[in-house]
Symmetry: D3
């Protein structure tokens, strides 16, 4: 029996605030291979997330805007990575607040094997989210569509909450 | 008990071939508002699908590539719509084969109300897919997260197959 | 006779400052259907504008960066919508100044029917901008190209200023 | 008095068919600067249009899909340009029909100076389209908003048809 | 001394033609995680290249156009992967010619270690292209900027040709 | 002999901080031609960089987010340009810190002619970056692949440092 209950939007959530640094730089003279390497290096040096966006620039260049979200104490090292691995001459940065939900990782069992789910809670509302890597691993192993694995894991995760 | 069974990839599918026309034109002198109207008009005149892609063009223009997929007997009328509603001087077109799966629409009942699911079959594999519009309608009505509605409808749809 | 006069760029404008909240979150596990629903819900709960951008993420994911611009007193409710309707665990937010021009909505008559224009003024410079929805409605009704309707409405709007 | 008359969509158009070659290649190891140069060279060697699209590729690369539309007798030279200026090892190509409208270039006079308009005709429907380069030149010279120039030229062009 | 010689564009190239299958489908109800998995599975089942493009669709959806380039004898299996792992109901496909350059892989030694280069030849023009994976591996190992490694490998590769 | 030496990431850099203004506005009713003109005008009035990003908006519009990075004393004039040349009613702006590397421009000689390189220094690490415009000019003049010119200039630039 499903215990996930929905409510009007005014619920009080146990969400928390943290401060992150956001680094941004436009890139118009690096190849996609190098940009992918820079993303890998930023994550390796502590960035929380890194992403690129295609941007239309002067002189008909379709460049990339590279953004790194870091804990504030990793901002300087990530900036060094950017200066070393790219040819950029300027990096914009700012501190920004981020609201985060507390999360809990739990293991569940399915007919295809074990997988983790991420569970977040706001008031008496729970959200269950299958971990992608575990599901993909089971999908590869059983040659079963990933969507089918994700639904099995989702279902097992919701069972946890109903207990 | 779930009857959706997975198999190695060599299954024989009852899929069919049809022919569609693909119309394409680059647009660099229309505003997004007008492009959205053109998309609406193309769908209204029988296009099966219409989509736009941002393209980097000469002279630093970030234009749009507009693509319409039509039944072959709607290609000419869709071309007329493009010539009338845009300023394009040239439209590329080609016929292309499309493999399609037979589909069936069924209604299911959930604790939130009725919704349709699309069911496709390949050999003894079934895929159940909740209809977005029905789910969105129920989500708005009950102020419940859409993802929660979609899962309830998905689950009810899979129940149909298990019978 | 046209009274829209141009001037060198140093004109003094009656523009005003307001403060808006900007919410941002990267999404890599929601389908475009659900993202479109989230956009609808954010606008319904008071967001001034919502938009998505395709972003290249780690593990070869082409995710979306979702941005909502809200009045500062709607930021919290919009954040709740994001937490409920998506699976995000973190939402970045900041307050930002926005320069706005005073605008006035006026009705004009054309040979195709009535439509609204938005008129903005800076010093003795006026800008007239046809309302898209009215023009699209007239275009559908008369089966006339939208561009033709927009020009008729534009012309009628400029006539207002010349009086 | 405006002579641009609209009609139901079944009008007979004097449009013509031509054949163009479409060349496509994905690029993941060139910088945006080099890609812009390749576009310039393709246009210089006879391509009718060239455009790029951001594509998500394997290994988290945000590459570009480069498309060149050429007259069929320029396809081979454009292919050579691509092989010489990029590092691609494979270029896809196909012939494709393109429907084009006959067009006529005419000069018009406005209070800001002379500019060209492109006029296309389908049955008794005329479309008038201001030439961007002429309008931009007048806008720079008079420090008048480009949109204002474009409307003046549009209006003068429609006057031509009404004669 | 560098032996890479440039010539006018009319050189005769030893390039060859092959036939590839191009599969395309628009996706508006899959998350980026699942799309990345589909890309992985397509490559695993023999696709030569797979890429995604953000597309603007009806109902304000920013979907993806998924394209797979396959050897023609892998087209059917790749189509099965698409039908199994996605919810698409239709896949467009076509055969297309592709011009390819003969390529040769060679090892080179640098002060940072060994790496492969891809060498292509057209008439007496050679292009040397460092293998990304080898360079990235050396860059990680020596904590040296990737661009620096790539240049060292490039240089060593050009030395091969000059012999 | 190459004197460019790499070091662990903790090097002390002579980088400096400056403050820039970032202006942003979403555009859904301007054509790509006009947007490119606005970019040109912003650069002409002192913007350091200007770029556009395709954004998915309400009502199925694929609009553009236009961003201008300016010295803080050019922010007001750039805002005026945006209000005059576009139909936007609101422009978001913020001040942001930017870390920049000191750079030096030097001329180098190659077998194809002279070109500039940009040299940046951090501790004892130098980065050499060929100026695109000079390289493109030489490539056009000698009909040599741009990549080949860039490598020759790069090599000559690194020779400067080794002295």
């Amino acid at each position: 029996m499903l215990k996930i209950v929905s409510q009007p939007y005014a619920v009080q959530s146990p969400q928390q605030l943290e401060v992150v640094a956001v680094l941004e730089t436009q890139v118009d003279d690096l190849s996609p291979q190098v940009v992918a390497y820079v993303m890998e290096q930023l994550l390796h040096h502590g960035a929380l997330d890194v992403f690129t966006q295609a941007v239309g620039m002067k002189k008909s260049r379709t460049g990339l805007l590279l953004t790194a979200i870091c804990p504030s104490d990793r901002a300087q090292i990530c900036e060094q990575v950017l200066f070393r691995e790219t040819t950029t001459l300027g990096i914009r940065h700012r501190l920004q607040e981020r609201t985060i939900l507390p999360r809990e990782i739990r293991w569940v069992d399915t007919e295809y094997g074990r997988a983790r789910v991420k569970i977040t809670q706001r008031s008496d509302i729970y959200t269950v989210h299958p971990e992608y890597e575990d599901c993909a691993q089971l999908a590869r192993q059983h040659q079963v569509p990933l969507l089918q694995i994700q639904r099995a894991v989702q279902s097992a995760g919701e069972g946890l909450i109903a207990i």
